[in-house]
């Protein structure tokens, strides 16, 4: 075979590619570094894509910009997204002699508009895909987590990605309710940056904020105290200074985006038909996506909703894996079952 079918989780923060039989073959940040030759306005060139480009964020010289072509789960820069996808698809087919033209299934946020879906589809086609299927992210996440989506029983999934949080209630291979709020890992980072600026008078970058979130971020108060030393630019002195942050401060910083997520979950439960609600109350809801790794988020949601909350195994790759399984399904049954136009 010349090229394998791919399931792509084109996320705001990370792009994951799953190949049937091989598992997750690519997991790279959705970042592209663009170099402007001969000053701004001159010819542009891709300097780096993925991990290499992410390391450049906030550390680039004047002629290089590291950008994230996706914002809030949807394409913000069409051409750059296309280039990035092309790069990733080629990377997956590195040793192939022929130009790859795989069938591609892409997961899109359920809140995305027709225009946004079309943009994603076309950029994948531009990147060399033969056929492009789209699937709603919560559906893929639920399949990837191993939930019984095909049964006549309600399943609730909460997928917290980099740009969006998707909450959906599924039954019989379909979405009964779905909503998408544009709160995700990025908003957590922003909140941490704002908190640090307000309380310490220091500026920190995105990369530092993300590191803080990973190391000491939490969504639920705990007895354990975790501290971390952070270096930032002190605004009043104008020089870099280091200071110490602890997990309770980060918890405080994250209150606003967390409230948004809890609100979305509550709204979903209110809108759920009672029978499906009963199923969910019995089994619980499942958390997927990178946000599920935030310490204590499941406890917070249990406390807030009174439902059992479960973190899926390998929450980061749920969507891509679920997309891969959906692709198999499309193979067997034709493309009309999971595709969302």
């Amino acid at each position: 075979m010349f090229s394998n079918d791919l399931s792509i989780d084109l996320g705001t923060a990370n792009t994951l590619i799953y190949v049937r039989g091989q598992g997750i073959v690519l997991d790279e940040p959705s970042v592209v570094a663009i170099r402007h030759d001969r000053g701004p306005g001159g010819p542009k060139q891709i300097a780096a894509v993925g991990m290499e480009a992410k390391l450049m964020i906030g550390r680039t010289p004047g002629n290089i910009v590291a950008i994230r072509p996706l914002k809030d789960g949807v394409i913000a820069d069409f051409t750059v997204t296309e280039k990035m996808l092309q790069h990733f698809i080629h990377k997956v087919h590195e040793n192939k002699f022929f130009r790859p033209s795989p069938r591609v299934l892409i997961c899109v946020p359920c809140g995305s508009t027709q225009v946004e879906r079309r943009a994603i589809k076309e950029s994948a086609e531009g990147a060399g895909a033969r056929d492009v299927y789209l699937i709603d992210e919560p559906m893929a996440a639920a399949i990837g987590a191993g939930m019984p989506v095909g049964e006549a029983s309600g399943s609730m999934v909460l997928d917290i990605g980099g740009g969006t949080t998707e909450v959906a209630i599924l039954s019989l291979n379909g979405l009964v309710y779905s909503s998408s709020v544009r709160i995700g890992g990025d908003r957590f980072d922003d909140s941490i940056i704002n908190y640090v600026r307000r309380n310490y008078g220091s500026l920190i970058g995105d990369a530092t904020a993300e590191r803080i979130k990973h190391e000491i971020g939490s969504a639920f108060p705990s007895n354990e105290l975790k501290e971390m030393e952070v270096k930032g630019l002190n605004q009043s002195e104008g020089v870099p200074r280091s200071f110490t942050l602890n997990n309770n401060e980060v918890l405080e910083a994250l209150q606003e985006p967390l409230a948004g997520i809890v609100g979305a979950v509550r709204a979903a439960l209110e809108q759920t038909p009672p029978d499906l609600g009963a199923d969910i109350a019995e089994k619980g809801m499942v958390l997927t996506g990178g946000g599920a790794l935030l310490q204590g988020l499941d406890q917070l949601l249990m406390e807030e909703t009174g439902l059992p909350v479960i973190v899926a195994e390998e929450p980061l790759t749920c969507v891509a894996r679920g997309g891969g399984r959906a692709l198999e399904m499309i193979d067997a049954r034709g493309g009309d079952i999971f595709t969302a136009e």
Partner: protein
């Protein structure tokens, strides 16, 4: 017997303690009731007791069970990952739920994806090779066929069955003068050495019914004398300058030049001959010693025809 088995079982259970019993022990050591655990994990009490009894049939899919075990073990201070591993080992087959379609679509594996592309390509190449070989086989066979009389007869039949070609023939006949045809026909029939007659005769049968006798006579003629086999001769007399191209059945060029006024060409080769005359009005042809009527083939000043073969070829070749 039972006395032997019982200690064994006890030993086993002491080495590999079930997930449920480990959870229960940890819970009891912390002096919690099942009710307390259920309240803290927002689970139903029945779920907690099913977990402790390792009664997985009463529990939902494995993803939920793993989640419950993880939450429960965190609550009672056990290592969740170890317990989950134990659960996976004890249950064995925790395959993901089978994806199934609710819709009643028939199972279709889309055809275009059944074969990988390299197979399609190789199939295409194979097909091409086959086509080429068939083509070469046919063309070599054709040259053989032209020599044998039976095949020639067959060729006539085929030509006749083809409507388009017969209409062409009709046109030719109508355009040329009728008496001449009669003449040529009679003359050739008398000698019966030319296959061309057959075609003309056959056309007559389509045109008018009473010519049946003619065709019969023609057939008799063909029976009496075998048709030109192998060599044939032709003689061309020129009263004007004319460009001449003549090649025989083997594809050999017999003549390819400008013939001058007053020239006489004597050619021999394997029939049929492909003939092209640039100025046909100024040429008379004798084929195997018989005069050949050029008139039906003259278009403008040129004539292009096949000599010594059934009429079909000559007509199709005509411009």
């Amino acid at each position: 017997m039972t006395a032997f088995i019982e200690p064994d079982e006890q030993e086993n259970s002491s080495i590999v303690v079930g997930v449920g019993s480990q959870l229960r022990k940890a819970r009891e050591s912390r002096q919690l009731s099942q009710m307390d655990v259920a309240e803290q994990l927002y689970l139903e009490e029945s779920t907690v007791s099913a977990l402790e009894k390792d009664d997985y049939a009463a529990l939902p899919e494995s993803i939920f069970v793993k989640g419950y075990i993880r939450n429960y073990s965190r609550l009672v201070g056990l290592n969740p990952e170890a317990l989950i591993k134990l659960y996976e080992n004890s249950e064995g087959q925790h395959s993901l739920p089978v994806l199934k379609s609710v819709c009643k679509t028939k199972d279709k594996v889309s055809e275009q994806h059944v074969l990988p592309r390299w197979q399609i390509l190789s199939l295409g190449a194979l097909g091409l090779v086959l086509l080429l070989s068939v083509y070469f086989f046919n063309s070599s066979e054709l040259t053989e066929k032209t020599v044998t009389t039976e095949v020639l007869e067959k060729g006539v039949d085929i030509a006749l069955s083809d409507d388009e070609e017969t209409t062409l023939l009709e046109e030719v006949i109508q355009s040329s003068e009728a008496p001449e045809i009669q003449q040529s026909k009679e003359s050739t029939v008398n000698h019966g050495s030319n296959v061309k007659v057959e075609a003309l005769e056959a056309v007559e049968t389509i045109e008018a019914a009473p010519v049946v006798s003619h065709t019969e006579s023609a057939k008799e003629v063909t029976h009496e004398e075998p048709l030109v086999k192998g060599h044939a001769t032709m003689k061309l007399n020129f009263i004007r300058d004319s460009w001449v191209e003549i090649s025989d059945a083997t594809g050999q060029r017999l003549y390819f030049d400008l013939a001058k006024d007053g020239d006489e060409l004597n050619l021999s080769g394997v029939a049929p001959f492909d003939v092209l005359l640039g100025y046909a009005i100024g040429v008379t042809i004798q084929y195997n010693g018989e005069p050949f009527d050029l008139m039906p083939y003259i278009r403008g000043k040129m004539a292009r025809f096949t000599l010594g073969k059934a009429g079909d070829k000559a007509d199709t070749d005509e411009l």
